[in-house]
């Protein structure tokens, strides 16, 4: 039997590591099952190479992440939450965001994306 390998995953990024993602104003939805009744849409999590930043490595905090996109919101989830959905987390540093990382894996199933969308924490609402 052939075993399909899972996505690449960097074990040095521990499960409790917090990941931040910018969310554009057009991708927020109301949901009366979540606190605040407002959350990021599952459509934010479509990318098989989902761009995030490791929170503790984001020098300057949210201001750095939102530079040039100040009207965006920010959602947060942990590396462990991504892994429970079958995805991996790897570093992908760049000059502006040395803590930049990618959440790797197929995002073709809506349930996984919706689960993450419902469970992630909102750090900043769009336009706030």
């Amino acid at each position: 039997m052939t075993t399909v390998p899972g996505p690449a995953d960097d074990g040095s990024i521990e499960n409790d590591v917090e990941l931040w993602r910018r969310i554009p104003p057009s991708q927020w939805v109301s949901d009366d099952s979540v606190e605040g009744r407002f959350r990021a849409s599952s459509a934010n999590f479509d990318d098989d190479e989902l761009s995030v930043v490791i929170a503790r490595e984001c020098t300057g905090g949210l201001a750095t992440l939102l530079d040039g996109h100040e009207h965006f919101g920010v959602a947060s989830f942990t590396a462990g939450e991504a892994r429970t959905l079958g995805w991996g987390v790897v570093r992908d540093p760049d000059d502006l965001l040395p803590g930049h990382a990618l959440v790797l894996g197929k995002k073709s199933h809506k349930k996984g994306k919706q689960k993450l969308a419902k469970s992630c924490r909102i750090l900043k609402l769009p336009g706030s």
């Binding site: 554009p24 057009s26 939805v29 109301s30 099952s33 849409s41 965006f72 919706q114």
Partner: protein
């Protein structure tokens, strides 16, 4: 140059018949990018409204709504006003390289989804652009979740989770309109 629906080979899509869609939308803040009331979307007493969707990459699509003139604007205006707004999103609108909304997506929505969206008792959807130039329609109310994703090409995806009705369905391909409509109508405050 402006294209009519006929120009792009979709004459049947040029007109949206409101006569069969008598339900009203319930007003509620459903998205973060709420379309402003648009003075261009006012139906004439004759019951006809023609307007143009202008897309970020220069495409235009002319649409005509036909009704009796008595249909409440809340039936159709929120939907078309939001589409107007999303059509203007530029490339990279999400800061991650997203494509702008595709005219083809809008055409697919008008043919395949509008009967659901404007059906009696269906609450107003949150309309969310997707990174591939598509649109996603979402409802999350009263413990029920419905999502329908319409890409510019390829199959439509939908998810319905309605635990009280024993429905937990995720599919790619032809939509089961009965399942979707039943879940959406159970969300309506009129369903008690």
């Amino acid at each position: 140059m402006s294209q009519t629906a006929a120009d792009v080979g979709i004459a049947a899509l040029a007109s949206v018949d409101l006569h069969r869609m008598r339900g009203g939308f319930e007003e509620h803040a459903s998205t973060g990018l709420r379309a402003p009331a648009n003075a261009n979307l006012t139906m004439a007493p004759s019951g006809r409204l023609r307007f143009e969707l202008v897309f970020a990459q220069g495409e235009n699509l002319e649409l005509e709504l036909r009704g009796s003139g008595a249909e409440p604007a809340t039936l159709w205006r929120p939907f078309f006003a939001t589409i107007q707004t999303l059509a203007r999103l530029s490339p990279d609108w999400d800061s991650y390289g997203a494509k702008p909304l595709s005219q083809i997506t809008v055409q697919r929505v008008l043919t395949k989804l509008l009967p659901i969206l404007l059906h009696d008792g269906v609450p107003e959807a949150a309309i969310v652009p997707t990174r591939d130039g598509g649109l996603q329609f979402e409802w999350h109310r009263r413990g029920i979740d419905v999502e329908i994703r319409v890409p510019p090409e390829g199959p439509i995806e939908f998810l319905v989770s309605d635990p009280d009705a024993g429905v937990d369905e995720e599919q790619t391909g032809p939509m089961d309109e009965g399942v979707i409509l039943a879940a959406l109508q159970r969300m309506s405050p009129a369903t008690n």
